[in-house]
Structures are given as C-alpha cells and as structure tokens.
C-alpha cells in the first residue's frame, strides 16, 4: 500500500495507480481454496474444453477481487471502499496479463463523508475491457 491519498488531491478524470496481474494456474487453485469455488473450468483443462471453452479461464469473481485490491491499495489505511462491482464481459486466461484500472468520475461530500466515484475495469494486453464496473470510495480530507 502506498502513501495515503486525500480527497483534496483527487480530481475527476484522474486515473488511479494501475495494478497488473498475471495468474498462474497455481494462483487459480489458491483462490479456489480461498473462495470455495471449485468449478473445474478454472483448473481442469479437459473439463473446460468439454464445456466448449478453449481452455482454462480466470474466475470472474477473482477479477472482481483484483478490482477490490486495486481500490484497497489506492484508498489507503484511512479510506474505505463502500461499494464496487463489475460485469464479466470477456474471458481472461492464465499466463496472460490482466491490467486493473480505475478513473475518478465524480467527487462530492455527502453527510460529512468525502465520496469519490470511479469507473473500474480489467483489461487485456490489447486494451479490451473484460470486467467493466464502478466503485464508491470515501477518503479522508487533509488537515
């Protein structure tokens, strides 16, 4: 986690620091154990191909969790991620870069909270967005 980001320093249109992932099949098994999702399309190539897929794919909910990590790392110890979500529009494969990105779309104060809204997404190396979504984060103010 980097230095604390403050509400005062955030501007609409600003991109937050990117997070790059590249899943080994071992990571997919680790996450399956952590999440309890043991669907075979994520670790059994024959099973995956039997369902019509080209091969193993990264769990959709793991990409959601990657976006959670992106936001957690950015919001810092004093920020709080209130809500985040994404839809799974494209498949990502193991051993392929997954770039997690976010851009501030709106900032405002509500009930004493400093609220920041963002567009977040994962993208393939060719720039295709595979998991577009949105997030709501509260940040501390300076002073």
């Amino acid at each position: 986690m980097g230095e604390q980001v403050y509400f005062d320093d955030v501007a609409e249109g600003q991109e937050i620091p990117q997070l790059k992932k590249n899943c080994s099949t071992q990571q997919l098994v680790l996450w399956a154990a952590g999440s309890g999702d043991f669907y075979q399309i994520h670790y059994d190539k024959d099973f995956a191909q039997g369902t019509g897929l080209r091969g193993l794919i990264v769990h959709g909910a793991l990409k959601h969790a990657f976006l959670g990590q992106l936001l957690h790392d950015w919001a810092g110890e004093r920020g709080q991620v209130r809500k985040f979500g994404c839809s799974y529009r494209g498949m990502d494969e193991p051993k392929q870069d997954i770039l997690c990105r976010g851009v501030v779309t709106k900032k405002y104060q509500d009930g004493g909270k400093n609220v920041v809204e963002l567009d977040v997404w994962t993208e393939k190396p060719d720039g295709t967005k595979t998991s577009p979504g949105t997030a709501t984060v509260t940040l501390p103010a300076r002073g």
Binding site: G34, G52, L62, F66, G68, E77, R82, G85, S87
Partner: protein, 166 residues
C-alpha cells in the same frame, strides 16, 4: 453446451423471485482470510499479521475486498463444487443448461469484516433474464445476499451475483 432453443422462463420460475432463503452461517477465520489474500496475490500485512492489524485499530486481520466469509460446510447439504448451502426456502430453479459462467459481482460494505466474525446470510432470487445467443439461449440468474453480524445483528455487507447458464 445445450442448444435448447425452446427454453422459456416459466411463471413458476418467476414466482421464485424475492423468496427469501433460510439463514446460513458464514465464518471468517484467520486461515480463510490468509488463504483468500494469497489467492488474490496480496502482500498487505493487514490480511496476514494479527498484531499488525490490531495496531491499525482492527479486531483482527481484515478480510480482503470481495471475501465475505465461507459458508459452513455440511456434507450432503452444501454444493460440493461451489460450496453454497442447499437449504430450505429460496429459489429452486430447474435449469436445463449445462454451461455456467460468472456474469457479474457487486459488493457493498457497511462495515469492515475481520477474522473471528461469524455472519448470517440470507439470499433471494432477484432477477431472471433470457437472451438469445448463436445456437441457443442464455439465462441470466441474479441473486442478492445480505450478511448480518451474528452477534450484533447489524448488516455488514450485501452482494449481488449474476450467473449465466447456457
């Protein structure tokens, strides 16, 4: 994958929308938090080191975003692949399609979730949508879950999950 083009959402299926499930306990343990954090590839000590987390003001290590506990597993009761409980109440859909993909996930936090928490989850079917695809159809099934802290009864998180059957 099925190429069933005859499938339709029935009135019986629509009647399942909004029917609340029986509650089920979800556990958040130090081991499960660390395992999930390893799974996402995080190296933040807030998810691993209890002393560090307590020094930051938390009850214990903090669950990574996206992790809202593990449903208590009872053989013969939980789904052996996905782990979710097959409990009373809630929707019972007879979906003929064999293919299954994640469609989307949305998580809302009303409090921080830490190891040691025991949550009580209830869920319901929120939406059904049928769309055409080349060679067949796709059924989008959206469920909404609410997680309450077992001790205080306070809602700590909500999750909306969409699965795609085809």
């Amino acid at each position: 994958m099925t190429t069933d083009t005859e499938f339709q959402i029935t009135d019986e299926m629509k009647a399942q929308i909004g029917v609340e499930s029986e509650p089920w306990e979800y556990e958040v343990t130090t081991t499960s938090v660390r395992m999930y954090a390893r799974g996402i590839g995080s190296d933040d000590p807030i998810h691993y080191d209890v002393d560090f987390a307590k020094a930051q003001g938390f009850r214990s290590i903090v669950a990574p975003l996206g992790y809202i506990g593990t449903p208590v597993y009872l053989p013969g009761t939980n789904d052996p692949t996905f782990g979710f409980p097959r409990r009373g109440g809630g929707p019972r859909l007879n979906i003929p399609f064999k293919g299954l993909l994640d469609g989307g996930t949305e998580t809302e936090y009303l409090d921080v979730i830490c190891a040691g928490d025991v949550l009580v989850e209830t869920s319901h079917l929120a939406d059904l949508k049928l769309r055409d695809r080349p060679g067949g159809k796709m059924l989008f099934v959206t469920n909404e879950a609410v997680y309450k802290d077992k001790t205080s009864g306070k809602v700590v998180a909500k999750m909306r999950l969409t699965s795609i059957h085809m």
